[in-house]
Assembly symmetry: C2
Homo-oligomer: 1017 residues x 2
Amino acid sequence: MGSEAALLLWVVMVAGVVVGGQSKFMVYNTSHTIVTGKLNVHLVPHTHDDVGWLKTVDQYYVGSNNSIQGACVQNVLDSLIPALLADKNRKFIYVEQAFFQRWWRDQSQAMQLVVKQLVSSGQLEFINGAMSMHDEAATHYIDMIDQTTLGHRFIKEEFNVTPRIGWQIDPFGHSAVQAYLLGAEVGFDSFFYGRIDYQDRAKRKNEKSLEVVWRGSKSLGSSSQIFAGAFPQNYEPPSGFYFEVNDASPVVQDDPDLFDYNVQERVDDFVAAAISQANITRTNHIMWTMGTDFKYQYAHTWFRQLDKLIHYVNLDGRVNALYSSPSIYTDAKYATNESWPLKTDDFFPYADRDNAYWTGYFTSRPALKRYVRIMSGYYLAARQLEFFKGRSKSTNTDSLGDALAIAQHHDAVTGTEKQHVANDYAKRLSIGYKEAEQLVSSSLACLVEPASRREKPTTKFQQCPLLNVSYCPASEVHLSEGKSLIVVIYNSLGWKREDVVRIPVFNEDVTVHDSEGNEIESQLVPLVDAYVSLRNYHVKAYLGHTPTQTPKYWLVFAVSIPPIGFSSYTISSAKKPGSSSSRSSVYTFNTSETSTVEVGQGNLKLTFSTEQEKLTNYVNSRSLVKETVKQSYGFYTGYNGSSDKVPQNSGAYIFRPNGTFLIKPEEVSSTIVRGPIIDEVHQHINSWIYQITRLHKGKEHVEVEYIVGPIPINDGTGKEVVTQITTAVDNNKRFYTDSNGRDFIKRIRDYRADWDLNVNQPVAGNYYPINLGIYMQDDKKEFSVLVDRSVGGSSILDGQIELMLHRRLLLDDSRGVAEALNETVCVLNDCKGLIIQGKLYFRIDPLGEGAKWRRSYGQEIYSPLLFAFCEQDSDNWINSHRPTFSGIDSSYSLPDNVAIITLQDLDGGKILLRLAHLYEIGEDKDLSVLTNVELKKLFPGKEISKVTETSLSANQERRLMEKKRLVWKVEGPSSENDDSKLSRGGPVDPAALVVELAPMEIRTFIIDLVPNLVSSV
Amino acid sequence: MGSEAALLLWVVMVAGVVVGGQSKFMVYNTSHTIVTGKLNVHLVPHTHDDVGWLKTVDQYYVGSNNSIQGACVQNVLDSLIPALLADKNRKFIYVEQAFFQRWWRDQSQAMQLVVKQLVSSGQLEFINGAMSMHDEAATHYIDMIDQTTLGHRFIKEEFNVTPRIGWQIDPFGHSAVQAYLLGAEVGFDSFFYGRIDYQDRAKRKNEKSLEVVWRGSKSLGSSSQIFAGAFPQNYEPPSGFYFEVNDASPVVQDDPDLFDYNVQERVDDFVAAAISQANITRTNHIMWTMGTDFKYQYAHTWFRQLDKLIHYVNLDGRVNALYSSPSIYTDAKYATNESWPLKTDDFFPYADRDNAYWTGYFTSRPALKRYVRIMSGYYLAARQLEFFKGRSKSTNTDSLGDALAIAQHHDAVTGTEKQHVANDYAKRLSIGYKEAEQLVSSSLACLVEPASRREKPTTKFQQCPLLNVSYCPASEVHLSEGKSLIVVIYNSLGWKREDVVRIPVFNEDVTVHDSEGNEIESQLVPLVDAYVSLRNYHVKAYLGHTPTQTPKYWLVFAVSIPPIGFSSYTISSAKKPGSSSSRSSVYTFNTSETSTVEVGQGNLKLTFSTEQEKLTNYVNSRSLVKETVKQSYGFYTGYNGSSDKVPQNSGAYIFRPNGTFLIKPEEVSSTIVRGPIIDEVHQHINSWIYQITRLHKGKEHVEVEYIVGPIPINDGTGKEVVTQITTAVDNNKRFYTDSNGRDFIKRIRDYRADWDLNVNQPVAGNYYPINLGIYMQDDKKEFSVLVDRSVGGSSILDGQIELMLHRRLLLDDSRGVAEALNETVCVLNDCKGLIIQGKLYFRIDPLGEGAKWRRSYGQEIYSPLLFAFCEQDSDNWINSHRPTFSGIDSSYSLPDNVAIITLQDLDGGKILLRLAHLYEIGEDKDLSVLTNVELKKLFPGKEISKVTETSLSANQERRLMEKKRLVWKVEGPSSENDDSKLSRGGPVDPAALVVELAPMEIRTFIIDLVPNLVSSV
């Protein structure tokens, strides 16, 4: 007997059929649908299940560690199914796929069949459908796409459905990229969220403009707009309608034989709450989010009350209550043919009340943020190498993909989770990395072998994930013993790439040979004390041992790597004195000396004043930009609001400074390191800030490497450390920050486009999230700063860009995490405050010329070169192996304005390919144009049998998605909203297989390859 | 398709069958049964659902008022069924039928069928099976039997099963009557409980004597013994094994793909806890009570973990874990053939640690305790009248039975519930009373009519439930207008009864005529001011109005009522001066006068010294007892232990006195009221204690009526008011208190038979519950005090009996109720402390002669005469109606040592009859003997077609019950335990229909009557 029969019988059994007799079993009528002409209250049963926050994702799933928070997602899903089976009118939405997938794997086939039927009938609807409900401030758009794709494709594969609705109900502000890219481009019909600025919300409630049409991209305009709704408050039920096990809301007591019968009171409460919401909402449809964090532990408790409310409220008749979903609600809104206010840009920053700007989390846990970003780039590269090798069940990129997906959660990369949970995310990334690293090594091992040996490659590559603290056992070998070190350097970008690389070495006399065997120029830069202690402390902390030997030098050399490919470099001990690397000249001077020092071997030269706080000249002899630039450090003291009437401290979420303090560089020596490839200026800013300003031959930007921490707290106050770079650019309050590393959005200090801003936090209220960079301009120049992870930043003074690099706080900010953001690193039980090491990059260009650097170099920051090392006893490695490789046609290179953001081997001979135009409309005179990519050139030696363009999350055909897209009407004269001049790439001709990309366009394809036509790779 | 199929399918669906594939669905092996030679851990999933405590019974059922306590019994049962269906090895016990019946009525027929199947398969077992888990200290055995019967018969009727196990896991001490009467006599095979004295428990753990054979009755001995087990601690799971939704115990994380896999740790925890318990337990069977108060809100959360524990613990193999029940556990214990320590007497008083004697609740809420007792007697009488009239669906005694059943709960009559819950119990009793009152009135109306008019009786009887505060609208009529007042007085005892009754009247000149129309002697006693204010305040408080007129007198007259029948008395205005009632002589004297006053019109005379604190002589000229008796009042100040290391206040549960304070009578006037029928001595003890000492003509006991309250708290301390009656009886620390109004148990001050008592509370630790009375004796005399409700009492000094009458406390005693026991009565918003009015009765007899009074008068106190009033315009009421009636054969009367404790019309022509021998073995030389009752005489005019003797709770044939009774072995030489001299009544000859009753024996019968053979009644 099929499970359909079982399903049916259980429904009969539970919902019952009153056959008559003594039982006073009550049957509730819950079958109501929309009633035109009445106020329709859409009851949307839901649970909001954080993929980690106070507990880890697995703890939330199995319900362990309940002393921290009583929450068990397994309960939610376990209890949901019988509750839905009991009444076919009941509905539920489920959102977070990281949890759902865990649950799904635990189920019997019989249960899976039942659930499939519930999904197919619409009783259970997947909403949002990503692995996690990602943050929208500190996340990179590539990560957002990847983790959404993981969730969406699972849903498609298991249930053959595509989520229709965006549901970002908890993230702390909302990004333009979320609205247009992860909304419209995913094929969503609407997008709902809970948190917008309190001032904004007040105005929108007043003007009934909580629901809008949001056009998030200037470049894509109405072709990527979406219906978007902010809830009247949070994502919880109206007060008094919480029905979790043991909740205090009054249950509907409708048994006249028991005491406290209260049906009329509860109906009156319901109607009053509905009318109150109707008064701030357009159309006669309102949505009630019936649930909140980790609710429906026992789903029955909610549904029993909702059944009763629907039954009695509709008997009452004043309003119409129905089981609904965001999809049904969206369709109902659409059916009203209403016009909606237009919303552009984004909803940042978010404040939930005076002095409570959630702009601290843009920087919170900077190490975790950096780790996520490194893994993101690595995951992109690893999937390329996985494709070249062919996907394997055993060693693959799946764990890393899962770990990254979870890390995008709005309490993960945000830094707003408890410390043990942050550790859990890091652990997952580490495990995922380890597996991907193995895959990368073995893929490279295959690729370096000649075709004959490819099946059983012998090379064992090592990689160096701790290179950031100068630790690389693979390169730290004594080459004097006749050994060579082979470094295979992989470039995941679609362009040939010229870069300078750095590897720690023991030997003083080494030579570097390129893939052709030619000796190339190299430079030895001494490993300074600041780095040695960084290295030794963290190797001990993370690996449990202290390295016995310390490399004396960074070996620096320039490399050239083909697109989506690698080159190999051989490092060996110098055979003859003259052929070894140049040692850098090192000059140390005291800040008391009054003099200037110029550095830079190429077009860009910087002049440092040795006097503290003196200006630095920035001169580019090519672009003729000349500017005085001053960089400084400072900190804000974390506000202690514990004794205020409405207590508000600075904390993991909230940035609330209590005064600004400039850090004056201490009077200690600075060191100048010079050589043929790089020049560096080392400065001890103070005892806990070390900075290296670095110029590379052939590059026209300044690289600033900083080591910040441990932030001292012995004065009892938390501190939030910023760096300011000050120029004379006359930006008149205006600056630009990226949205999730993609579109730049204009910001104006102390101003909001959507309402008259009441400024109560002149610093915190002007902070914005930065993933790619920030820039400002005047009529001559533009000044850009790029970052290596998400940070918060602003321009608090004209000409100045400020970035928050690190935060260490001693108080909790009362948003639930209940822990002070006080990160430490421990060796055994000796813990000290977290030290952050990072880089930022800046450059000043003539007006109109900055975008090219921001976009192309930004992509290089996101996708750094990938190193794999192996030792070789003899010299002939290069001759016996394939020293260089490109995955694409050797004659081909992607246009400068395009990146392959996904190249992934799907199971079954299908390839997932995403191509991204990197420029916005009008950003660059040459590159902000329609461009194209020849697919055939991307897969040399393989035949493309089919190309299917899909939605961004690759779960439906783009064509069908466009066909069913709801076309929302926008308020106001159509001339104002006309964007018909904007274009998108046209259809892909199946013969030519050329993909057009308009500015900011990302196109996603599933490509069927005929395997191994010619085994050229 | 039958529900069996549905059941089967759901089991398949949930428990699943792994058909192979991607799912890693886990199937746990939970099929383990007992393994000989291993330690067997019997896991007993259970919930303990208080039938009212912090919330009312209905609030607990529907889950309202959750802000007080998150608890919803509906959830428990709703969630239980699918959890049991999911795995046929899972078991659950359900206890409290008040909840189960509420739930059952809500279920569909389909669900009822499923549940019946679960009960029949043993997965769901009813344990205890009474309506509530009654208290064992403040409850009367008749109430215990009634409420157990209600539950057991429902279970029998709906499920055809009989509960096998007593389960009194939470009551605060355990009574002998519970063990033998509500245990063995109900047919239970064992009896489990959680709370015994901490010193006792420590010793028993040490000696492995937590489990015993309990022989509760001296009279019935081993024929009524039961296997009885105290839990090692409370009734909760071992620490760390709580699995309620959101509980903090670590769940078994057995998914190796998730973090924090902990199977071995949890198995180790389990084994350690098992071994620890095994070390204090005989045999290799231990029971774990897997649940606690209101747990299994979502049963799945428990069963999921228990499944895993059973699976993995048994894989581990060190111990054997199994789903079990108290029945299975009992059978396993029995199968070991072990001998057990013998336990006699009871487990009172209960202390859970030093200075924490739960002896306060013996008296807490004395008004509720009295209300329950009044209703209990009324319920007994009302069911008799219901039987005479014939049971009706519309107006019956069911609500009162239900209300009384619930009121026996161990947080109801105990006084340990929150105030609003106490109000709820009172409200239920009041509603139940109202319905029963209507039934009683209409039954009496039928019975007073001649046979011809019986179908449509015209008489409208009124009753006076507020007679205790002198309020009786029915009697407060102006008889001068030619009206007569008819008082029908019903006697529910099986003996003819001579008593003195009191009715408030307006008129001064009234005469009283008996059923034969003869004028009888009567006396008018002035209604004193103390009563007038009591009356006016409480009528205003409870009825909302102030009576316009106040009766001046109590009309007092002696009555004689046939067994199980009534007589009618006519009160009319006196036709001629000489025939009216005697007015009492009233003499008031001041305490400053030095003189003595003698009162008493019969054998008993008391001499009061008018000087305060002077002794009173007690002289019985018949029995020649002469004694000096002193009665005094005092109070204990409630201990404030809030600043102690282990805080322990005196509170609703716990009596912890902080010093004793004698209340010295104030120097005010006392009043002597004398008359032909009663003499009274009125004394203002102080401004809040008023006392009347009353002697009735023809009675040889002293009746003391007290009005205590409001207890003053303006000094900021709570007080517990006691009265002491001091004699010269040389009792040498020994005294006797009843067990639930039935067997008397010897108490020895500062001593326990079962262990060496460490005395830390010399007063509170010597308190015992008293329901019927307390007595002491020396070699000449015995001094007995009977009470009108349950109270706490002791003999703290030799010769003295102390009773706690009232408690008003300002602090909570930290046992969960979280409220101070500070009862008030409010008129509008003006509240004052509760005033208690009550009676106690004392008598001094020659040694060996006290029992007869205690037993027979005790039964009269329990079953007071029932008054029904009607007005009559003419004199001929008696001629036109049946003025007197007896429900039994007019020639018959029950033996003096037997009471009918139940006579109840069951549906379907069956009668429930319970006959109780009232005497213990050896208690009275004449009455402690085998006696008999002629059933035929009890049902005159009806033919008995069948007599079936049943268990006490009338849910199984006694014969079958005896047949399957487990015979437990007792430790020690059999000579010590031999009680073969004890006897019980023999089988009932179906022809003779004579029931033999041995001392203390209660026999229960279902009697089939052939209806209306002769309509003699």
